[in-house]
Protein backbone atom coordinates (compact mmCIF):
# COMPACT_ATOMS: atom_id res chain seq x y z
CA UNK A 1 0.00 0.00 0.00
CA UNK A 2 1.44 3.36 -1.01
CA UNK A 3 0.38 6.92 -0.23
CA UNK A 4 1.11 9.85 -2.53
CA UNK A 5 0.97 13.46 -1.38
CA UNK A 6 -0.04 16.33 -3.70
CA UNK A 7 -0.10 19.93 -2.51
CA UNK A 8 -3.29 21.74 -3.54
CA UNK A 9 -4.50 25.26 -3.03
CA UNK A 10 -5.39 25.34 0.66
CA UNK A 11 -4.87 21.70 1.50
CA UNK A 12 -2.57 18.73 1.15
CA UNK A 13 -4.15 15.82 -0.72
CA UNK A 14 -2.91 12.35 0.16
CA UNK A 15 -4.02 9.68 -2.23
CA UNK A 16 -4.16 6.04 -1.15
CA UNK A 17 -2.82 4.03 -4.07
CA UNK A 18 -3.63 0.60 -2.65
CA UNK A 19 -7.08 -0.94 -2.83
CA UNK A 20 -7.37 -1.66 0.90
CA UNK A 21 -6.37 -0.42 4.32
CA UNK A 22 -6.44 -3.58 6.43
CA UNK A 23 -4.79 -5.28 9.39
CA UNK A 24 -1.77 -6.14 7.21
CA UNK A 25 -1.22 -2.54 6.06
CA UNK A 26 -2.48 -0.40 8.96
CA UNK A 27 0.93 0.22 10.54
CA UNK A 28 2.48 1.10 7.17
CA UNK A 29 -0.43 3.49 6.54
CA UNK A 30 0.15 5.30 9.85
CA UNK A 31 3.91 5.53 9.23
CA UNK A 32 3.45 6.95 5.72
CA UNK A 33 0.86 9.44 6.91
CA UNK A 34 3.33 10.67 9.52
CA UNK A 35 6.13 10.99 6.94
CA UNK A 36 4.00 12.83 4.38
CA UNK A 37 2.49 15.33 6.83
CA UNK A 38 5.63 16.08 8.86
CA UNK A 39 6.42 19.75 9.17
CA UNK A 40 3.51 20.94 7.06
CA UNK A 41 0.47 22.92 7.96
CA UNK A 42 -3.15 23.30 6.90
CA UNK A 43 -5.80 20.70 6.41
CA UNK A 44 -5.13 17.28 4.92
CA UNK A 45 -7.59 15.50 2.63
CA UNK A 46 -7.20 11.74 2.35
CA UNK A 47 -8.38 10.59 -1.08
CA UNK A 48 -9.75 7.07 -0.63
CA UNK A 49 -11.41 6.73 -4.03
CA UNK A 50 -9.26 3.70 -4.90
CA UNK A 51 -9.79 1.95 -1.57
CA UNK A 52 -12.44 -0.71 -1.97
CA UNK A 53 -11.98 -2.24 1.48
CA UNK A 54 -11.22 -1.03 5.00
CA UNK A 55 -11.44 -3.22 8.11
CA UNK A 56 -11.53 -2.11 11.76
CA UNK A 57 -7.72 -1.99 11.89
CA UNK A 58 -7.77 0.29 8.85
CA UNK A 59 -10.44 2.45 10.46
CA UNK A 60 -8.33 2.65 13.62
CA UNK A 61 -5.34 3.71 11.53
CA UNK A 62 -7.31 6.53 9.90
CA UNK A 63 -8.52 7.71 13.32
CA UNK A 64 -4.96 7.49 14.67
CA UNK A 65 -3.72 9.61 11.74
CA UNK A 66 -6.37 12.23 12.49
CA UNK A 67 -5.39 12.30 16.17
CA UNK A 68 -1.68 12.55 15.30
CA UNK A 69 -2.34 15.60 13.09
CA UNK A 70 -4.09 17.32 15.99
CA UNK A 71 -6.83 19.94 16.20
CA UNK A 72 -4.93 22.55 14.19
CA UNK A 73 -4.61 20.29 11.18
CA UNK A 74 -7.91 18.59 10.43
CA UNK A 75 -7.90 15.33 8.48
CA UNK A 76 -10.76 15.18 5.99
CA UNK A 77 -11.76 12.26 3.79
CA UNK A 78 -12.74 12.06 0.16
CA UNK A 79 -14.14 9.51 -2.27
CA UNK A 80 -15.34 6.79 0.12
CA UNK A 81 -16.40 3.67 -1.79
CA UNK A 82 -19.56 1.85 -0.60
CA UNK A 83 -17.95 -0.79 1.64
CA UNK A 84 -15.62 1.76 3.22
CA UNK A 85 -18.54 4.12 3.71
CA UNK A 86 -20.44 1.34 5.47
CA UNK A 87 -17.68 0.85 8.06
CA UNK A 88 -17.58 4.59 8.78
CA UNK A 89 -21.37 4.81 9.02
CA UNK A 90 -21.92 1.77 11.25
CA UNK A 91 -19.20 2.83 13.70
CA UNK A 92 -20.53 6.42 13.54
CA UNK A 93 -17.04 7.65 12.64
CA UNK A 94 -18.71 9.42 9.70
CA UNK A 95 -19.81 12.01 12.29
CA UNK A 96 -16.20 12.71 13.27
CA UNK A 97 -14.74 13.40 9.83
CA UNK A 98 -15.62 15.93 7.17
CA UNK A 99 -16.28 13.68 4.17
CA UNK A 100 -16.15 14.97 0.58
CA UNK A 101 -17.65 13.05 -2.36
CA UNK A 102 -14.46 13.82 -4.28
CA UNK A 103 -11.40 16.01 -3.77
CA UNK A 104 -12.45 19.63 -3.03
CA UNK A 105 -12.38 21.91 -6.04
CA UNK A 106 -12.75 19.06 -8.50
CA UNK A 107 -9.00 18.56 -8.44
CA UNK A 108 -9.09 14.79 -8.28
CA UNK A 109 -5.99 13.24 -9.70
CA UNK A 110 -6.55 11.77 -13.15
CA UNK A 111 -4.33 8.97 -14.33
Amino acid sequence: MELVAEPHDGFLAIRVEGDRIDAASAIRFKDRMRELTQGGQGRVVLDMARVSFLDSSGLGAVVAAMKALGRERPLELSGLTPTVQKVFRLTRMDSVFTIHPSLPGGLRHVS
Binding site: D55, K67, R71, L90, M93, S95
Partner: protein, 155 residues
Amino acid sequence: MSADCIPAAPDTWTAAAGFSLVLPGTPLGVRDALDRAMAAPCLADLSDMARGSLWIVLAEVLNNVTEHAYATARGTIVLRLWRFESGVAAEVVDHGAPMPGLELPAGRLTDIDSLPLEDLPEGGFGWFLIRTMTDWLIYDRVGQQNRLRFCMECA
Protein backbone atom coordinates in the same frame (compact mmCIF):
# COMPACT_ATOMS: atom_id res chain seq x y z
CA MET B 1 -29.91 -27.64 1.13
CA SER B 2 -32.69 -25.94 3.03
CA ALA B 3 -34.21 -22.83 1.54
CA ASP B 4 -33.40 -20.67 4.52
CA CYS B 5 -30.26 -19.84 6.37
CA ILE B 6 -31.49 -21.62 9.48
CA PRO B 7 -28.58 -22.55 11.71
CA ALA B 8 -30.68 -25.04 13.68
CA ALA B 9 -31.48 -27.06 10.56
CA PRO B 10 -29.66 -30.37 10.90
CA ASP B 11 -27.96 -30.11 7.52
CA THR B 12 -26.73 -26.54 7.80
CA TRP B 13 -23.25 -27.33 9.05
CA THR B 14 -22.86 -30.87 7.75
CA ALA B 15 -23.63 -30.22 4.09
CA ALA B 16 -20.71 -29.89 1.71
CA ALA B 17 -19.42 -26.33 1.93
CA GLY B 18 -19.54 -24.13 -1.14
CA PHE B 19 -16.09 -22.84 -0.25
CA SER B 20 -13.49 -24.12 2.14
CA LEU B 21 -9.92 -23.09 2.85
CA VAL B 22 -7.16 -23.67 5.41
CA LEU B 23 -5.24 -20.43 5.87
CA PRO B 24 -2.26 -19.33 7.95
CA GLY B 25 -3.36 -17.24 10.93
CA THR B 26 -1.43 -14.14 9.90
CA PRO B 27 -2.56 -10.74 8.57
CA LEU B 28 -1.29 -11.55 5.07
CA GLY B 29 -2.82 -15.03 5.25
CA VAL B 30 -6.15 -13.41 6.10
CA ARG B 31 -5.87 -10.91 3.27
CA ASP B 32 -5.20 -13.66 0.73
CA ALA B 33 -8.01 -15.84 2.14
CA LEU B 34 -10.47 -12.95 1.87
CA ASP B 35 -9.55 -12.47 -1.80
CA ARG B 36 -10.11 -16.16 -2.45
CA ALA B 37 -13.36 -16.33 -0.48
CA MET B 38 -14.86 -13.26 -2.11
CA ALA B 39 -14.04 -14.75 -5.52
CA ALA B 40 -15.72 -18.07 -4.66
CA PRO B 41 -18.17 -19.18 -7.37
CA CYS B 42 -20.82 -19.93 -4.73
CA LEU B 43 -20.90 -16.21 -3.83
CA ALA B 44 -20.95 -14.93 -7.40
CA ASP B 45 -24.64 -13.97 -7.27
CA LEU B 46 -24.39 -11.85 -4.09
CA SER B 47 -25.28 -8.18 -4.46
CA ASP B 48 -22.44 -5.69 -4.09
CA MET B 49 -23.87 -4.61 -0.76
CA ALA B 50 -24.07 -8.17 0.61
CA ARG B 51 -20.60 -8.90 -0.72
CA GLY B 52 -19.20 -5.85 1.07
CA SER B 53 -20.86 -6.84 4.35
CA LEU B 54 -19.59 -10.41 4.15
CA TRP B 55 -16.09 -9.14 3.33
CA ILE B 56 -16.11 -6.92 6.42
CA VAL B 57 -17.45 -9.62 8.77
CA LEU B 58 -15.04 -12.30 7.52
CA ALA B 59 -12.14 -9.86 7.86
CA GLU B 60 -13.08 -8.98 11.43
CA VAL B 61 -13.59 -12.62 12.45
CA LEU B 62 -10.34 -13.83 10.86
CA ASN B 63 -8.30 -10.86 12.11
CA ASN B 64 -9.62 -11.51 15.60
CA VAL B 65 -8.24 -15.05 15.44
CA THR B 66 -4.80 -13.88 14.31
CA GLU B 67 -4.64 -11.11 16.91
CA HIS B 68 -6.05 -12.94 19.92
CA ALA B 69 -6.41 -16.72 19.58
CA TYR B 70 -2.98 -16.86 17.90
CA ALA B 71 -1.42 -13.98 19.84
CA THR B 72 1.32 -16.17 21.31
CA ALA B 73 1.37 -19.24 19.07
CA ARG B 74 0.87 -19.33 15.33
CA GLY B 75 -1.56 -21.73 13.73
CA THR B 76 -3.96 -22.28 10.91
CA ILE B 77 -7.60 -21.32 10.47
CA VAL B 78 -10.26 -23.34 8.67
CA LEU B 79 -12.86 -21.24 6.85
CA ARG B 80 -15.98 -22.78 5.34
CA LEU B 81 -18.84 -20.98 3.60
CA TRP B 82 -22.28 -22.14 2.52
CA ARG B 83 -24.56 -20.22 0.18
CA PHE B 84 -28.25 -20.53 1.04
CA GLU B 85 -31.14 -19.10 -0.89
CA SER B 86 -31.58 -16.43 1.74
CA GLY B 87 -28.01 -15.79 2.73
CA VAL B 88 -24.60 -17.09 3.66
CA ALA B 89 -23.49 -19.29 6.55
CA ALA B 90 -19.88 -19.39 7.69
CA GLU B 91 -17.75 -21.45 10.04
CA VAL B 92 -14.33 -20.42 11.30
CA VAL B 93 -12.26 -22.91 13.32
CA ASP B 94 -8.87 -22.37 14.94
CA HIS B 95 -6.65 -24.16 17.47
CA GLY B 96 -5.65 -21.08 19.41
CA ALA B 97 -6.38 -19.69 22.86
CA PRO B 98 -10.05 -19.73 23.91
CA MET B 99 -12.24 -16.65 24.08
CA PRO B 100 -11.89 -15.09 27.55
CA GLY B 101 -14.68 -16.51 29.70
CA LEU B 102 -15.60 -18.75 26.74
CA GLU B 103 -17.89 -15.97 25.54
CA LEU B 104 -17.93 -13.61 22.60
CA PRO B 105 -17.13 -9.98 23.46
CA ALA B 106 -20.21 -7.75 23.82
CA GLY B 107 -18.97 -5.49 21.04
CA ARG B 108 -20.41 -2.26 22.39
CA LEU B 109 -19.54 0.89 20.54
CA THR B 110 -17.93 3.70 22.53
CA ASP B 111 -20.14 6.79 22.59
CA ILE B 112 -17.97 9.15 20.57
CA ASP B 113 -20.31 12.17 20.54
CA SER B 114 -18.84 13.91 23.55
CA LEU B 115 -15.25 12.74 23.18
CA PRO B 116 -12.41 15.17 22.44
CA LEU B 117 -10.24 14.33 19.43
CA GLU B 118 -7.43 12.86 21.51
CA ASP B 119 -9.77 10.39 23.22
CA LEU B 120 -11.36 8.93 20.10
CA PRO B 121 -11.08 5.13 20.02
CA GLU B 122 -8.65 3.55 17.54
CA GLY B 123 -10.00 0.05 18.07
CA GLY B 124 -12.81 -1.95 19.59
CA PHE B 125 -14.93 -1.77 16.45
CA GLY B 126 -14.50 -5.38 15.34
CA TRP B 127 -17.06 -7.23 17.44
CA PHE B 128 -19.52 -4.38 17.08
CA LEU B 129 -19.30 -4.73 13.28
CA ILE B 130 -19.58 -8.52 13.46
CA ARG B 131 -22.61 -8.41 15.75
CA THR B 132 -24.29 -5.64 13.75
CA MET B 133 -23.91 -7.33 10.38
CA THR B 134 -24.64 -10.96 11.29
CA ASP B 135 -28.14 -12.33 11.81
CA TRP B 136 -27.05 -15.30 13.85
CA LEU B 137 -23.76 -15.87 15.66
CA ILE B 138 -22.50 -18.53 18.04
CA TYR B 139 -19.17 -19.46 19.58
CA ASP B 140 -18.21 -22.87 20.95
CA ARG B 141 -15.02 -24.20 22.44
CA VAL B 142 -14.86 -27.73 21.04
CA GLY B 143 -11.97 -29.64 22.63
CA GLN B 144 -8.88 -27.56 21.83
CA GLN B 145 -10.63 -25.64 19.05
CA ASN B 146 -12.53 -22.38 18.80
CA ARG B 147 -15.51 -22.68 16.50
CA LEU B 148 -17.40 -19.60 15.39
CA ARG B 149 -20.48 -19.98 13.24
CA PHE B 150 -22.62 -17.23 11.79
CA CYS B 151 -25.30 -16.51 9.22
CA MET B 152 -25.95 -13.37 7.23
CA GLU B 153 -29.22 -12.93 5.44
CA CYS B 154 -28.72 -11.43 2.01
CA ALA B 155 -31.32 -12.79 -0.36
